[in-house]
Symmetry: C2
Subunit: 105 residues, 2 copies
Amino acid sequence: MQKRRSHPGTGRDVVARHGCPLGTLCTDLGNREDDLGPEAAKLMSLVLDWAEDQFRQLNTDDPRACAVHLLTGVQGGALLANAFRDPDLLTRHVRHLEEWIDSLS
Amino acid sequence: MQKRRSHPGTGRDVVARHGCPLGTLCTDLGNREDDLGPEAAKLMSLVLDWAEDQFRQLNTDDPRACAVHLLTGVQGGALLANAFRDPDLLTRHVRHLEEWIDSLS
């Protein structure tokens, strides 16, 4: 797997100001009684499946669990960075996730 | 397949159905231009400060970073569990967080 390095520049500022577009969409639609919540979840599944495939290529023991760990980390980091309007929180958090990925190989 | 017993009202089921109340509040208010976002963030800060104090009592190297790691994990887990309406995702994720805390002491 070619490791994708994120170097948050303006991206981190946008997330700190508005949150993750996909995460906020899932949160906005997740409480509805109609079918829009599951539709938003399909988009999240695409990202999760992609991440699982990357971890599979790294020969990790449980690529699905690793993908969930990564995505929960990204979504939680985006949520807190947005709550505190703190891009640096996101930068530090992404660095920890990168170190975790490095520790797997 | 044995039908899964439903335990309505238990924490994980409520979170999977509606998300974390505090996280969704911060997301809902985080995009506004008024002062309600920072007010919601104050509630998140209370949880973060409490967690930091717990990690300090565990004599961890960086109790603030540990608190952020825990809270991002909890919030990200709640978001994904809600997106996928999957209480088991939350259970597994919380177990990993507990194992991480155990590894610190």
